[in-house]
């Protein structure tokens, strides 16, 4: 796809229904469950903050700050984790099913033809480059971020399953390098998911109220792009 030149997109003033119920529900429920899982996960990690042997033990951190930990102690944190893992999984399944059923995934999933659009978006966001014309509800950089976040979410579920039941899911565990490997990948998947959040929040702030409100009511008053505008 040719690099888009500077285009001033005409303001589309027709409100558009951006996010169906399932997307908004999953988004907010997921925001809560990821927060709970990350915080309780850090408290769990504090019980053995290492990825090597027990004897000798080389800790990666001295302590997890109380402000970012949940559960108070290992047992309490595990209760949060073992409760919200179901909620997280249920949201994930509902989300994927609704995306497939609605066909909406096509606007969201990063595919090879989006690669060409990545650099112009990076130039626009970080290097004061010209704004590329909107070609879909999400730009290539957004698609990349959402798709990666989905992959990290899936990865954290699968590795969580291996850590929780390394014997029953030994075949799945083999792909991650057993209990050890799964524990490391689980931690890295959390880091990946968390890395998504600051950029996401900054973009939400930059895009203002109308965009934020669309994740609550579904409606955007001044959309950059509506499906009917596809060139």
């Amino acid at each position: 796809m040719a690099d888009s030149s500077v285009t001033t997109t005409p303001k589309v003033s027709r409100p558009s229904y951006e996010h169906p119920w399932a997307v908004r529900f999953c988004h907010w429920a997921n925001a809560v469950s990821v927060t709970v899982l990350a915080m309780s996960g850090l408290q769990i990690f504090a019980a053995f903050p290492a990825f090597g042997s027990k004897i000798p033990q080389e800790n990666l951190i001295d302590a997890v700050p109380e402000a970012v930990a949940l559960g108070g102690w290992l047992g309490g944190a595990l209760q949060w984790h073992f409760t919200f893992m179901w909620i997280f999984a249920a949201i994930g399944i509902l989300y994927v099913v609704s995306q497939i059923a609605s066909g909406h995934w096509r606007t969201l999933v990063f595919v090879p033809r989006d690669v060409a659009g990545l650099w112009p978006m990076v130039r626009y966001y970080f290097l004061f480059g010209p704004k590329p014309a909107a070609t879909g509800q999400y730009n290539p950089l957004q698609k990349q971020a959402y798709t990666t976040a989905l992959l990290f979410g899936t990865l954290s579920l699968l590795t969580g399953l291996v850590m929780y039941k390394p014997v029953q899911f030994s075949t799945l565990g083999w792909f991650f390098g057993g209990y050890h490997g799964a524990r490391l990948v689980h931690f890295l998947a959390m880091c990946g998911l968390l890395a998504f959040i600051p950029g996401h929040l900054i973009m939400v702030l930059l895009h203002g109220w109308d965009n934020f409100a669309s994740m609550i009511t579904g409606w955007k008053r001044y959309p950059d792009y509506t499906p009917g505008d596809r060139p």
């Binding site: 053995f48 027990k54 595990l78 073992f82 409760t83």
Partner: protein, 235 residues
């Protein structure tokens, strides 16, 4: 279809209200019961996917950590007072032959030795070498009621645990009297401990003194389980 009357936004907002259900975890008096439900649900699911014929991986001798690197992990004391000369395992409950069993009677059962991964709830793990009698063989020796659902044990250090019968009858579940081809040392639970490759470490009680076959769980189910850990603790 693209009009957006205000009431439409309100209706869309209302549709999000199920998210508020998650707020129930913020209510202090609801939190604990909800989390206990979550753990109980997880335990029930864990028991459901457990397969008695699915073995934990056995590891090569080369993968076994040196004996010095197998942690002594006690909750209180690692060398409780035990009269080793007169030690017996007191067996009671739903068994045809209750009474006391000497270590030699347990040693007389077919011996099984395996190199299996010992996983601690804290997140560390070690591959160790364990030897002992199958718990299933011992339960048969004692004439355990096949309809009973639980096996409970108490220990010389006031620790206590209980197991679901499915796990107790798993072929790798041992009444373990040897580690690294030597009699258990005191820190690892001499003279007799549980070795359960399908359970977390805290289920594998050491310094066994009594064993009961039970139809219902006692009020004191599990030392750590009673403090908030999963009772099932299965791998």
């Amino acid at each position: 279809m693209s009009e957006q009357p205000p009431q439409r936004s309100r209706r869309e907002l209302l549709k999000l209200s199920p998210v508020l259900l998650l707020g129930s975890f913020a209510v202090p008096s609801w939190r604990e019961p909800l989390l206990e439900r979550g753990v109980a649900w997880s335990d029930a699911a864990s028991a459901m996917i457990f397969r008695r014929d699915h073995l934990a991986a056995s590891h090569a001798d080369a993968d076994v950590v040196p004996f010095e690197q197998f942690p002594y992990n006690g909750y209180d004391v690692i060398e409780p007072d035990i009269d080793f000369a007169n030690w017996t395992l007191a067996v009671s409950g739903a068994v045809a032959r209750p009474g006391t069993y000497a270590l030699d009677q347990i040693r007389a059962l077919p011996k099984r030795t395996h190199n299996t991964r010992h996983i601690c709830v804290e997140g560390w793990d070690v591959v160790g070498r364990f030897g002992g009698a199958r718990l299933a063989d011992f339960l048969a020796l004692a004439g355990a009621d096949p309809g009973a659902q639980f096996v409970t044990v108490t220990c010389a250090d006031d620790y206590y645990e209980s197991l679901d019968m499915e796990t107790a009858l798993h072929p790798q579940s041992l009444l373990c009297y040897e580690m690294y081809d030597r009699p258990l040392d005191r820190g690892h639970g001499a003279p007799l401990r549980l070795n359960l490759p399908t359970k977390l470490g805290y289920k594998q009680a050491k310094y066994l003194m009594t064993l009961e076959v039970a139809h219902v769980l006692p009020a004191r189910r599990s030392y750590w389980g009673d403090q908030g850990y999963s009772w099932y603790g299965g791998l």
